[in-house]
């Protein structure tokens, strides 16, 4: 394992401290652990909290700020944060209007957030939740725990965050968050695995000429391995899966081409070049495109494409002013 770290046990702490030292105008860290909240608490709005394992930076601390999240809780690398940490985050940001938890659909995340939510409700804090499950690669049948939450989560932060910032009630913010979830689909591939610092070696193996199709953001296996193909062909396959999952005809879309950590912008633009062409050929109008690192998996080489089906409400909320470390609008 080759990484710019000091000590495996300190990776998460030092990452959060470094983030706060870089951007004190946006975030501050709570004493209790790796929870970051807005530097200045905003009253009179529904507060949004999200989080998950570390290793997905800028998610989720990078999305704390005006028009997006109020708190982000970082667990150990690729491991859900614990209920007590989430609970501290909820308490720090809670307002009379309540708190919305944005949870990615993983067994551990859902359990830990639910326990924290139960603890907060005992303090008479109003808590609601949404669970993001945008990954079309995995089967969402009754026989699984459902689809995984991946890069589409950033659109939930943006749009629900905009609604909350405008002073909407908890039910309304939850409704719009769920609307994003219902309309966003994502799929990813990887060509090189990542190494969790505490594990010391890669979570999976790929041959020099292989890729994992449908990879998760923790390096979990996707649908299959196959020989690496030209970028355009990979994009064709991903878009096939996404476009056949919900009907995008006649809608405008927001596109996110997201790096898994090590894939450079050059390649992301090459990918987006074809994403845009395919959508144009199908008569799907692109309203806005986001290219960059939004939901990474440490140093994994790979990318995901997300398509958010828009209506007027979502378009307006997507455009509303947001100012965070990693997302500005």
């Amino acid at each position: 394992m080759k990484k710019f770290i000091n000590q495996v046990e300190l990776v998460e702490d030092q990452m959060i401290q470094g983030m706060v030292k870089a951007y004190p105008q946006y975030v501050r860290k709570l004493e209790c652990g790796n929870v970051v909240v807005r530097t200045e608490k905003k009253e009179g709005k529904v507060a949004l909290i999200s989080g998950g394992g570390s290793g997905h930076e800028p998610a989720h601390g990078g999305y704390v700020g005006t028009g997006m999240l109020d708190a982000a809780v970082a667990g150990a690398v690729f491991t859900s944060p614990t209920p007590d940490q989430i609970y501290e985050g909820i308490k720090a940001i809670a307002t009379d209007k309540g708190v919305l938890m944005v949870i990615k659909n993983y067994t551990g995340d859902v359990m830990n957030f639910e326990m924290a939510g139960e603890m907060a409700q005992m303090d008479d804090i109003k808590v609601a939740q949404v669970v993001v499950n945008d990954d079309v690669a995995v089967d969402g049948s009754l026989y699984t725990v459902g689809r995984r939450g991946v890069a589409g989560t950033v659109f939930v932060h943006k749009i629900a965050g905009a609604k909350a910032e405008a002073g909407a009630e908890l039910e309304e913010v939850q409704r719009v968050a769920q609307k994003v979830i219902d309309n966003v689909r994502t799929m990813g591939v990887a060509i090189r695995p990542c190494t969790v610092p505490a594990a010391g070696k890669p979570g999976f193996e790929l041959g020099e000429d292989e890729m994992e199709v449908g990879i998760g953001i923790h390096g979990e296996p996707g649908t299959h391995k196959e020989k690496l193909r030209p970028a355009d062909e990979i994009v064709d396959h991903i878009l096939d899966k996404i476009l056949s999952d919900i009907d995008y005809t006649g809608h405008e879309v927001a596109v996110m081409v997201n790096s898994s950590g090590a894939t450079p912008l050059m390649e992301l633009f090459i990918i987006n070049n074809h994403v845009a062409d395919v959508l144009a050929a199908k008569g799907i109008k692109v309203y806005k495109t986001f290219v960059g690192e939004y939901m990474t998996s440490l140093e994994m080489e790979g990318f995901s494409v997300s398509l958010l089906r828009l209506d007027d409400e979502l378009k307006t909320l997507l455009d509303v002013h947001a100012d965070t470390i990693a997302f500005k609008a």
Binding site: G53, G75, A76, F78, T79, S80, P81, T82, P83, D84, Q85, Y106, T107, G108, M111, N112, M115, V138, D139, Y143, T144, V145, R148, V196, A198, A199, G203, G216, H218, G219, E220, P221
Partner: protein, 207 residues
């Protein structure tokens, strides 16, 4: 049968054993999960060990509850809430006790099963820790009902848990991250069922 001091010793021994098996459990999890089970549990039991001064002299219910809270607050993942809830429920069921008898073993295992079912919204046969826990509970209960002593009952419980672990190799996961693998989860044992069996073995050795 087991007094307060012995409960602390058992918790300590479980921690040592889990730390010893850390890489093995993580390897199992690497294959069908996200490769952190052993690392996370070891971190949790290290925290339980730190809480030992707080537990000393307390009743056994409080000890188990404290251990559960420590697990919930340090393990993370799914195993944190699951084992944490299991220990906390067991603590609740044994509130005020300073000495455990053989029937309390069933009480603990009942609380474990109920806690994990509640938190994980799961049932037997989904390739989870319940597939070791439920047979172990049933075996211990059956042995005690048949008039066997605690030591024998626990040995039969361990055997049933081990069979449960073997059984998880033959079924497809429908809960947890392994569920995404579908048939690819066949042939692999469940890490949670394995870690529960490891813990139960330690208990059996100490009673």
């Amino acid at each position: 049968m087991v007094n307060q001091e012995q409960v602390l010793e058992i918790l300590h021994a479980i921690g040592e054993k889990i730390t010893e098996e850390k890489l093995f459990l993580t390897e199992l999890d690497n294959v069908i999960g996200d490769g952190d089970h052993g690392i996370n549990l070891a971190r949790g039991f290290a925290e339980v060990e730190k809480k030992r001064p707080m537990m000393e002299g307390k009743d056994i219910g409080t000890m188990l509850k404290t251990a559960g809270m420590a697990l919930v607050s340090t393990v993370g993942g799914a195993s944190g809430p699951l084992y944490g809830t299991a220990f906390m429920q067991a603590g609740k069921a044994l509130a005020g006790k300073t000495e455990l008898d053989a029937q309390d073993l069933v009480t603990i295992l009942d609380a474990f099963v109920a806690g994990v079912q509640l938190r994980g919204k799961s049932v037997a046969g989904e390739k989870t820790m319940l597939d070791a826990m439920i047979p172990a509970r049933d075996a211990v209960k059956a042995a005690l009902d048949a008039g066997k002593d605690a030591k024998t009952a626990l040995a039969e419980g361990v055997a049933a848990a081990e069979q449960g672990v073997e059984y998880t190799k033959t079924i497809i996961a429908t809960k947890g991250r392994a569920s995404y693998l579908g048939e690819r989860s066949l042939g692999h044992q469940d890490p949670g069922a394995t870690s529960f069996t490891t813990m139960l073995k330690v208990v059996a050795e100490h009673v």
